[in-house]
Subunit: 178 residues, 2 copies
DNA sequence: GGCTACATGTAATGCGTTACATGATTTC
DNA sequence: GAAATCATGTAACGCATTACATGTAGCC
């Protein structure tokens, strides 16, 4: 009963019916700061949820585009989701490649490290932009709780970028001292 | 070739020989802000690495305590690790239960949400304390790169705590307005 | 002409989690 | 007397990743 694609999909579908494609879109943008997943996780998850009676499929025939399968949540699904919310909050799960590299990569030269920092910064900036864009566009219509969550995401990326910048500066200074 | 227990264990062993138990200790404290893992991942990983010739086992017989298996990295292991460092930096992987709950839990009452925020805050504070403790104790002997990484970890937890506090305040204010 | 968006899936593989299993010693 | 520390492992299960597989429509 931990945070996995199943519950995120269910939560997304509790707002409105969606296709697997749309769910994946959410995974890579609006909610990417707390959950990410690939098609290989989306479609099998949907299939399972359907088997368990948590969601229902409706096929929409389209002529100019591929057909869609739109899923909507059932009462069973809502109950499962409610059960999830009753569990104690799980700790965040983080896996950070940059941090690992900086922590252990002592024998690398500073150029290499600066490169790693640069790569990571770009990644975080890209994500921050997505979230910031959402915030700027929708903050007036967004329910408060979503705004809260978004804020956490924005802060998270911002903090990471700041820390990375600071690290780069420290490395630069050290270089000049030599 | 993504961030997984294998490379973290190898990196740890590149510093000094260690037992599985010690590696697990690192997973839950000093490096927990970028990687976590259980015994169920540590021991099998070590076994695999040994089979691949990346590490070597030496059994230390102890009389008052259980025997230890101390592993040290081999040349092969160092090569594998070097190869890892050459890959492009992977994006951070985050899975956050609180954020998910705040984002979707619109129908919950504010008390429930405040509770979630409180739980999460405690988790982050506990981890922040560990890192802060490391920083205070060792920052003078620590190599610069490790300090950088630690700093990122500290900032991360601090940012999260701040954001959570702010969220709690927003909810409180909203309550009073009613 | 090529890329992006739309749209859905499967198969293989594997990494990791949880739970199980054991047991002495030290500290509160 | 209870709890934490030291110490190592296995087994089952499952979620997720990567790669594979296919095809149209619209835009630049």
């Amino acid at each position: 009963m931990q945070l996995q694609a199943k519950y995120v999909a269910l939560a997304l579908l509790s707002k409105r019916p969606m296709t697997g494609y749309e769910i994946k879109k959410n995974f890579e943008g609006p909610i990417s700061f707390f959950f990410e997943g690939s098609y290989g996780s989306v479609y099998p998850t949907l299939k399972n949820l359907e088997k368990e009676g948590c969601i229902e499929k409706r096929t929409i025939i389209q002529e100019d585009r591929p057909n869609k399968n739109e899923y909507s949540i059932t009462e069973v699904g809502r109950a499962v989701l409610a059960q999830y919310y009753e569990q104690p909050v799980e700790e965040d799960n983080v896996r950070s490649d940059v941090c690992m590299r900086l922590f252990f990569g002592g024998k690398m030269d500073e150029g290499e490290m600066l490169d790693w920092i640069g790569q990571s910064r770009k990644q975080h900036e890209a994500k921050l932009n997505i979230l910031q864009g959402m915030h700027d566009q929708y903050h007036q219509q967004m329910p408060k709780h979503q705004l809260l969550s978004l804020t956490i995401g924005i802060r998270y990326h911002q903090a990471k970028i700041d820390a990375l910048l600071e690290c780069a500066e420290m490395l630069d200074n050290h270089k000049e001292e030599k």
